[in-house]
């Protein structure tokens, strides 16, 4: 069953006041992702991968094209309807620092989805317990909970982002270079965690990475992108 269906998606940027310049960041891409499937997305720096990811979650508005999520055309949804959709689809950003609130302690950031009642009403003690559980799952230490993002290393912040997403528990994740700031051992740990989520909960994913081996490990199919277009999509087994 299809979870994501993208048709002729475009995103063009213009810059410059007098001499207008256009960047065709995404220039007519079409693809689908089945429920429980991982689609890898690869291509040279600047070819439009992150832009595709942000479009899928409607973090930016497309110039044209259509995105169907679980049977609903989300390009036509209003702000309020989109807000209801949000918890079902999440993005792990390329740079963790920009997706964490710098004024919020790590523990608060991870607890936020629980506090907002995303999974029903929860008491303080229960939330605290859940947060510590997630901290442990992503390989952080309880001593990190009371700190702010600037007090953690790059890789530690990346794991905070992951813990927060686990707290939200979405059906679809865009993972944009999720392990670029991790060492190889922690990378292995996190990739295994993501594979377990896929196996146990049927998580669907768009997995963006420059690491050939990692993409092959994680994906069912791999899409190759070049200058705003998808050149081909093939099975990860032979890619």
């Amino acid at each position: 069953m299809r979870l994501i269906d993208v048709q002729d998606l475009k995103k063009h940027y213009s810059s410059g006041m007098i001499n207008k310049q256009y960047t065709r960041a995404v220039d007519g891409v079409s693809f689908f992702i089945d429920k429980g499937e991982t689609l890898g997305l690869v291509g040279e720096s600047g070819c439009g991968k992150t832009t595709v990811g942000r479009l899928l979650l409607r973090l930016i508005e497309p110039t044209s094209g259509k995105i169907v999520f679980d049977g609903v055309d989300i390009t036509g949804l209003g702000r309020k309807e989109m807000r209801k959709m949000r918890p079902r689809m999440q993005m792990i950003f390329q740079d963790p620092e920009s997706s964490l609130n710098p004024k919020m302690r790590i523990g608060e950031s991870i607890a936020e989805p629980f506090r907002l009642g995303l999974h029903g009403r929860m008491g303080k003690a229960e939330i605290k317990e859940r947060v510590l559980e997630l901290v442990d799952i992503v390989g952080l230490n309880p001593e990190h909970v009371n700190r702010f993002p600037y007090q953690l290393s790059g890789g530690q912040n990346q794991r905070v982002v992951l813990a927060r997403i686990l707290a939200i528990n979405p059906e679809f994740i865009v993972a944009d270079e999720p392990t670029a700031s991790l060492d190889v051992s922690v990378q292995a740990q996190i990739l295994r965690l993501i594979m377990d989520l896929k196996k146990d909960f049927g998580l669907t994913m768009l997995f963006i990475s420059h690491d050939q081996e990692v993409v092959r490990h994680m994906s069912d199919r791999i899409a190759m992108m070049d200058r705003g277009k998808i050149k081909r999509i093939e099975s990860a087994k032979r890619a």
Binding site: V42, E143, G154, Q156, E177, V184, H210
Partner: protein, 311 residues
């Protein structure tokens, strides 16, 4: 000749849960013209070590020990002397482009500013030098890109802007923190070549999770764990014949080796494990490892290891 001599460096941060010992008694020498890689688990103290050298840490940090740069202790310099040293002699390519680049300044102007801080150049000359720098890091259409703001660039382009800024004033010693993260294979190789060329007669401390990059650039690699150095040897020995159990586990967690993570989690840096800091996770731990803290020993010429199996 020694360029940098780090002696008993200890960098700590106060937090509400206690003192974080991010760098705990590190000794490291870098010779003129030497290129050293610093690798290790996320959160083990690599960035803090680099930031201690350029002294870009917040004021509440406590730093002990000595960092001799051409014989002068960096830690004793006043702010003005430090500013002159930074950029002109020592420059740092920071780990996080998004928080390090100024969001409201065009990238060409940011690089030009960095150039003008240390070279007497007019505005126009600095700007055209900035465009050259962007070309040298393989940013296509550099002239146009120079007029864009950071948010208009892709992740890998911002990374390369950081590198261009770090190289802009032609320093003699560069600390590069994860300069190739998030770059595709082709761009990465170009950057590796560029870094190799740009540091041909200079010294470099490159912090990286990419063992291929470390191998391609570095003469020597130092491995860090929980604030300490554990192993230090030529790149070839570290990658092909590592001795420390941590480093052996590290190599086995590569995707090509089967993606087997080292069991257990990173230790606390507020209350690190007694004895050998790696003992709770070490498959070869002995009783004594829980009590005795191993010293760094030279096991063969130029190959240093901190493990009781070698003592």
């Amino acid at each position: 000749m020694l360029l940098l001599d780090i002696i008993h460096l200890k960098t700590q941060f106060p937090t509400q849960d206690g003192m974080v010992k991010a760098v705990d008694t590190v000794d490291l020498q870098i010779a003129e013209g030497e290129r050293i890689g610093l690798i290790g688990e996320t959160g083990c103290g690599k960035t803090v070590l680099g930031m201690s050298i350029v002294r870009l840490l917040q004021p509440s940090t406590t730093i002990e020990g000595r960092i001799l740069y051409r014989g002068r202790d960096i830690l004793q310099l006043d702010e003005e002397e430090m500013r002159r040293l930074r950029g002109k002699e020592i420059s740092m390519i920071l780990q996080n482009p998004t928080t390090s680049l100024n969001p409201v300044l065009k990238i060409g102007d940011q690089i030009a500013e960095a150039i003008q801080l240390h070279q007497k150049l007019g505005k126009r000359e600095a700007k055209s030098k900035a465009v050259e720098m962007l070309e040298s890091v393989n940013i296509p259409d550099a002239q146009r890109r120079a007029d864009q703001y950071p948010h208009e660039l892709s992740g890998g382009m911002k990374e390369r802007v950081m590198i261009a800024m770090g190289l802009a004033c032609d320093p003699s010693f560069i600390v590069a923190d994860e300069p190739t993260k998030g770059l595709d294979a082709k761009t990465k190789m170009q950057i590796v070549d560029l870094l190799r060329e740009a540091t041909a007669h200079k010294s470099l401390l490159i912090i990286t999770h990419d063992l291929g990059v470390a191998e391609a650039i570095c003469d020597r690699i130092a491995v860090m764990y929980a604030g300490e150095l554990l192993e230090d040897a030529s790149s070839r020995l570290i990658l092909e014949e590592p001795i420390h159990p941590y480093m052996q586990g590290f190599i086995n967690s590569l995707p090509s080796k089967g993606l087997m993570p080292i069991p257990g989690t990173s230790p606390s840096l507020i209350a690190p494990p007694h004895g050998c800091r790696f003992h709770p996770r070490c498959s070869r731990a002995m009783k004594i490892c829980e009590r005795r803290h191993p010293e760094m020993v030279e096991v063969e010429r130029g190959h240093y290891v901190r493990c009781l199996l070698c003592a």
